[in-house]
């Protein structure tokens, strides 16, 4: 059971260091820009506005059983976790190769480097989710299922952190990974049920949705924000298993293999 506890233990032990260095990391990301950390809010806002414009004004498409506003809300629910996933994974992957000097010290544990990048990289999607929640509350009133949003978000953070631990190491020896990631981003965007629901697909294709790990998060967010229902058990299981598995596996790999990889940093 040790391996289950270890990643949480290290986060707990260095919680204040992690918290403060996430804050610094976020300020680093936006340093030198006019509105600074406000970009965390501005970026998702612009994106949501763009999607609303495209679907509501230009394409004018919507499923028959939904209003345009509901449809935009639904798309936003899926879009935010996807964006968060992509951004956090991209920053997490390059975190070690960009922060080599941290490895020369022992005062800052190297495990925290990808982790804080992931958390800082997730900030704008969290801000976006908050906006979507406000939108949902305005459209059809607040629902108790909103309370599940942090849980789903936490599962997603676990997944990204675990994957980032492995990819950040791999990226030290194989820089191609960050290039592949940007391609993968687009694939995941298309393959996730953001703009369509599983019900819209031919029955033969719907199992494939569940092969895409991101689908669970997209569906879960749509359920608890747009549909005001709790996700089905298969989705909940998917979230927990994916999150915990990735987190513990990623941490073990990082812990055991880091010294081999640091030589190539």
């Amino acid at each position: 059971m040790d391996f289950l506890i270890r990643p949480f233990a290290i986060v707990y032990r260095h919680r204040r260091l992690l918290f403060r260095s996430v804050a610094t990391e976020m300020r680093h990301r936006y340093a030198g820009s006019l509105v600074g950390v406000l970009w965390v809010v501005v970026a998702p806002l612009l994106l949501l506005a763009l999607y609303a414009l495209v679907y509501a004004v230009i394409f004018r498409i919507r499923p028959l059983d939904m209003s345009t506003a509901d449809y935009v809300l639904r798309i936003s629910c899926g879009l935010m976790p996807l964006l968060g996933f992509n951004e956090a994974l991209a920053t997490g992957t390059t975190s070690l190769s960009l922060n080599k000097q941290v490895l020369l010290n022992t005062v800052f544990p190297s495990e925290l480097v990808p982790l804080r990048a992931v958390i800082a990289g997730s900030a704008s999607s969290v801000a976006g989710l908050l906006m979507v929640l406000i939108g949902a509350a305005i459209l059809h009133g607040p629902s108790f299922t909103f309370l599940a949003v942090p849980v789903v978000l936490f599962c997603q953070l676990m997944l990204v952190a675990g994957v980032a631990w492995i990819l950040s190491l791999a990226n030290l020896v194989l820089r191609d990974i960050q290039q592949v990631l940007s391609f993968l981003t687009i694939v995941l965007l298309v393959a996730s049920p953001v703009a369509y629901t599983p019900a819209m697909l031919p029955a033969s294709l719907s199992p494939f949705i569940y092969c895409n790990p991101l689908s669970y998060f997209v569906i879960a967010f749509q359920n608890v924000i747009a549909d005001d229902v709790l996700p089905r058990p298969i989705v909940v299981t998917g979230l927990l298993v994916l999150g915990l598995l990735a987190l513990t596996l990623g941490f073990e790999v990082f812990r055991r293999a880091k010294q081999v990889f640091f030589d190539y940093a």
């Binding site: 340093a31 941290v102 020369l104 010290n105 022992t106 005062v107 800052f108 010294q259």
Partner: protein, 458 residues
């Protein structure tokens, strides 16, 4: 990690390296590197992976006691940085063991947590953050750094607008604001002007006096003498000397002088990793010469730099008032440094005698150059030349000096100097004052005015 910050007992060594080896694999291609690191070499079973092994460190063993201050010498590529990396703990040796007891703060070329767009003040804060200080300690440390750097309004401006000197000042101050158990410094001291060098030195002193163990890599021999009691000299990934800092520096300086001489003569020995068998044999030979040389007076080794050799310094003696050889001289009494100059062959030689006096921590105090002379000597004849302080005005302490015979010496352009013989930092004497706790370096001759005879009657 505030819980475990209590200092460990001094008896336990801060660092212990045993038979440490570090081999880097240099791959022909990124692909091969990735395959090997990821442990997938079986996937390319039809051919061996192509790489060369580069031994950065071989069989390195030494122990550093807690609170000890150690200098690390060596030419570029000798393995100094690799050694520091291993001590940092995030890098693993290929063989042997590295045991480090305490938190390591490494002060290497780049500021940890620095961002060019941030103001100096923000950078101090974010850089200190990596050290896990709690809120109160953080504020105190920031105030300390702000006080040290004396950058004034510049602290409000982005660091990218700083000059290199200002930036390194800030980085140095931030990295030394905390009290690490083990401080590792790689070539960053002495940034900025003379005023700040002196200030940095003072700051380093306080840090080392607070019990921190220090590992200092520097190409400035003076810095090493100033801070370190002991020095380790690395050459080609091996420790060739581990001992008192002064002895290490003498041997090292002599070695680099000889290499330079050989290089000037067209023999390419200088590359630290030159694969040429003959070159490495020559270097090995030179090392033995440098390290196995004769022992001079007081047990210190005489470090003879390569010279033209027609004239040599046959002996050096320090004489006291009664012209007896002495190791300890009282302040205010006469002091004489006597050289015996010998010629290999009969002839007349143009010659300038130079004596260079250093304080015990390596600071250059005095240079005495004799007037140009023409010595007519028979083969094997010894001529005695003396430098005399009629009253020794030096303060309490140990002094080290070099003695040299120059054929040509232009103090405005030292690169044209030609030496017959040069014995670097090979001799020493001690000066004692009546007052043992007098800290003066030098007692300048001076008179008081305005005090008449009756004023002094008491």
């Amino acid at each position: 990690m505030p819980e475990d910050s209590t200092r460990t007992l001094a008896a336990e060594p801060a660092i212990r390296l045993q038979n440490v080896r570090k081999v880097y694999r240099l791959y022909d291609s990124i692909g091969d590197q990735a395959i090997d690191v990821l442990g997938l070499s079986r996937l390319v079973f039809w051919r061996p992976l192509r790489f060369r092994e580069f031994p950065a460190l071989s069989d390195v063993s030494f122990t550093v006691a807690s609170g000890e201050r150690i200098g690390i010498l060596g030419r570029n590529g000798a393995g100094k940085s690799t050694l520091l990396k291993l001590i940092g703990g995030n890098f693993r040796p290929s063989g042997g063991s590295v045991a480090v007891n305490g938190r390591v703060q490494a002060l290497m070329s780049v500021g940890l947590g620095f961002h060019p767009e941030f103001s100096g003040y923000d950078n101090i804060r974010s850089s200190l953050l990596y050290n896990g200080l709690d809120e109160d300690a953080l504020e105190a440390a920031i105030a300390d750094v702000v006080d040290f750097v004396e950058l004034g309004d510049f602290l409000e401006r982005p660091v990218r607008t700083y000059s290199l000197g200002m930036r390194s000042r800030l980085e140095f101050a931030a990295a030394t604001a905390i009290r690490p158990d083990i401080l590792v410094i790689d070539e960053v001291l002495g940034a900025g002007d003379a005023y700040f060098s002196a200030k940095s030195v003072q700051r380093m002193r306080t840090l080392t006096q607070s019990g921190a163990t220090l590992l200092l890599v520097s190409h400035s021999m003076q810095q090493i003498l100033q801070f370190c009691d002991r020095a380790v000299w690395l050459e080609g990934g091996r420790i060739v000397y581990d001992g008192p800092a002064l002895e290490a520096i003498k041997a090292y300086e002599e070695f680099t002088m000889r290499l330079r001489k050989e290089a000037a003569a067209g023999k390419y020995l200088a590359g630290a990793s030159a694969g040429d068998g003959q070159a490495s044999w020559m270097r090995q030979h030179m090392l033995q010469q440098v390290l196995g040389g004769a022992t001079g007076d007081q047990g210190a080794r005489v470090s003879r730099w390569p010279g033209e050799g027609a004239l040599t310094i046959a002996s050096v003696r320090v004489l006291d008032e009664s012209r007896a050889e002495a190791r300890v001289v009282r302040r205010g009494e006469p002091l004489e440094i006597e050289l015996a100059v010998a010629a290999e062959a009969a002839g007349s030689y143009d010659c300038i005698v130079v004596i260079l006096l250093f304080s015990g921590d390596g600071r250059w105090l005095c240079r005495h150059c004799s007037p140009a002379a023409r010595l007519v000597l028979a083969a094997g004849e010894c001529k005695r030349v003396s430098l005399i302080y009629d009253q020794s005005r030096l303060g309490n302490g140990t002094y080290v000096f070099s003695a040299a015979l120059y054929a040509e010496l232009d103090l405005n352009d030292l690169s044209t100097a030609r030496a017959y013989d040069l014995l670097a930092r090979s001799f020493s004497f001690e000066v004692v004052d009546r007052h043992r706790d007098d800290q003066s370096v030098f007692h300048h001759p001076a008179v008081w005015r305005g005090l008449s005879a009756e004023d002094l009657s008491c």
